[in-house]
Amino acid sequence: MPTRSLVVPAILAEVAPICDLVNDEALAAGFDSRTSYACQLAVGEACENIIIHGYGERASGQIAVTVNSAPGALTIELADTAPPFNPAERHPGPPDPDNPRLGGLGLLIMHRVMDEIDYARRPNGNTLTMRKAQEAGFDS
């Protein structure tokens, strides 16, 4: 199972390179372009959450990204040293087009795209693990 890693400063401008890595590995896993895009979108949302809600106003911090790809399967792990923030337990529920929300859209995207989202609090930070298989499609 090929593994690629990247450690970046936890700033919004560094989210794009993480998305690029996820897209590359998703395509390498044999995902179609739509699913590859969905994966980079979901991981981008997770990274933005870490930066905005995890680290918040803290001036420094990093995100360590590890991507494992296998035929038809992708696993992305994001590790940070921010205060506890668990997006896995914050499922915003289904979208309501009659009363569209302005908040929680990032979490909604993460949960609809990924098959599994696991959170672990370590002594010095957070680890978020997201898994996606090509054939699973999007959840409602």
Partner: protein
């Protein structure tokens, strides 16, 4: 991300290109608010060349629609890219916006 605006008789077309995420959304939101504050309630977003649209961009589209509707206006999309369509579909918000295959057809709808 780049943004340009073009005013027509009944509508302003806001053309966005590149990546729309939290690092660029402020610029997008400022352009939209500028139009809304000037009294323009009919907006077309030409999103043909957007190659990434995160929830930060979605939020601005939804906010624009809400504000435009308050003033009796309508927000429509012109030639949204596949990436834009996919983000809207994943978030379940594609039904909120009428889309047109060309900018001209979107303008003609007003």
């Amino acid at each position: 991300m780049d943004i340009s605006r073009e005013a027509y008789k009944r509508v302003t077309v806001i053309t966005v290109t590149g990546r729309v995420d939290s690092s660029t959304a402020d610029q997008f939101e400022a352009a939209v608010n500028d139009e809304l504050k000037s009294g323009q309630r009919n907006l077309i977003f030409d999103l043909n060349e957007v190659d990434f649209l995160s929830s930060a961009g979605l939020r601005i589209l939804v906010m624009s629609r809400k504000e435009a509707q308050k003033g009796g206006g309508v927000v429509r999309l012109a030639q949204p890219s596949d990436r834009v369509k996919e983000t809207l579909e994943i978030a379940g918000l594609d039904v909120l916006f009428e889309s047109f295959p060309s900018r001209e057809e979107a303008i003609a709808a007003y």
